[in-house]
Symmetry: C2
């Protein structure tokens, strides 16, 4: 059977769009032979992917020149219902970055990454928040990976069994798209009175982000 709805992608424009749309990545690294996969914030700046490194910090302490890592960003776009159990699938966009993760030490670079993290969560938020202090930048563990060995896999549309005998079965086939919807902002219980919900939070939408 031809996999007409699934494809591997290597162009940076498509890859960058997935990296930029995803809210979190899953960072993989190895510690004493055991692989670990930890969800963490990420942001792309130019040709590098930056991730929060606190999860890997125990491993990193002994390896100051970097560790072999894999950062994967996945957007779940829908459920694919084929006529057969076997052909059921998901629609998704996924990017896998392989390489050596190295710690970011320059305060200015760390600040730029925290800005990118914050703006990715909620565009407009960085300028509204208290900027990081020198001490906070020092306490922030950030890793970066070059976008050299990077690829995407994308599946879209309906099932792949339309040109098989299964298509004659009396079974509904198609897909159900999934989207991520923000609900109304919830104020912190200890928020000072008289501070309204900012416009950038009230009108927040996650374009291009699903699952």
């Amino acid at each position: 059977m031809r996999r007409v709805h699934e494809r591997a992608v290597y162009d940076r424009e498509t890859i960058d769009a997935v990296l930029d749309a995803g809210l979190i990545c899953h960072l993989g690294f190895v510690h004493e032979g055991q692989p670990f996969v930890i969800p963490t914030l990420h942001a792309r700046l130019g040709d590098r992917l930056y991730v929060h490194g606190s999860a890997a910090s125990r491993t990193l302490r002994s390896l100051s020149d970097g560790i072999a890592a894999c950062a994967t960003v996945t957007l779940v776009d829908g459920i694919v219902l084929a006529r057969s159990v076997f052909e059921h699938s998901m629609n998704y966009r996924s990017v896998v970055v392989l390489g050596t993760a190295t710690p970011v030490n320059e305060p200015d670079e760390k600040d730029a990454v925290l800005r990118a993290f914050t703006e990715k969560l909620l565009p407009g938020r960085y300028a509204d928040s208290r900027p990081p202090t020198r001490q906070e930048l020092k306490a922030t563990s950030i890793l970066s990976l070059p976008l050299d060995e990077v690829s995407a896999k994308i599946r879209t549309g309906g099932p792949d069994d339309g040109d098989t005998p299964d298509a004659e079965l009396d079974v509904w086939a198609g897909h159900i798209p999934l989207v991520v919807q923000p609900l109304a902002p919830v104020a912190a219980p200890d928020l000072r009175t008289g501070i309204p919900v900012p416009e950038y939070a009230r009108s927040y939408r996650r374009d291009g982000l699903t699952g």
Copy 2:
């Protein structure tokens, strides 16, 4: 600062709820020293986690008695807006399963896992679909991990800076919940005429599933 909104969880009831609510997991394994993190379907049956193994099959071929693996399921529940850039965060539920992933070879066990995959995507779907043939079961690569070394991390609610001097700042603080919403089912272009959208697909909701 106390992390009042984030906690580690080890009770199986909470862990199982996260594993069961997540649509996909990220499977980590090591191939020639390089960690890989691949999104894949998963389902829990009793005290084991089953994952689609085709992504790891190249590695598995040489290691028929299993590979060190990590399977991580993450649900993104919201964006946390603190007064400071430094304290911005995500609300999430994440389960990490460590162990040895071994291939499932018994056709009956494979069939049970495919049933669990299908029913997790869309409850009611398995009975409506053409069941797998012996050949399809043979072609399906499934791995299983025991739920022995497993833990969850959960973050809920607003920012953690309410009892710091930052709380006096003129900055809105709180969180924005995110939920996953199914859109209307889309019929395959080659669907036979006269097959209505099944009730289980039309009324589909993802309770407990976010991000």
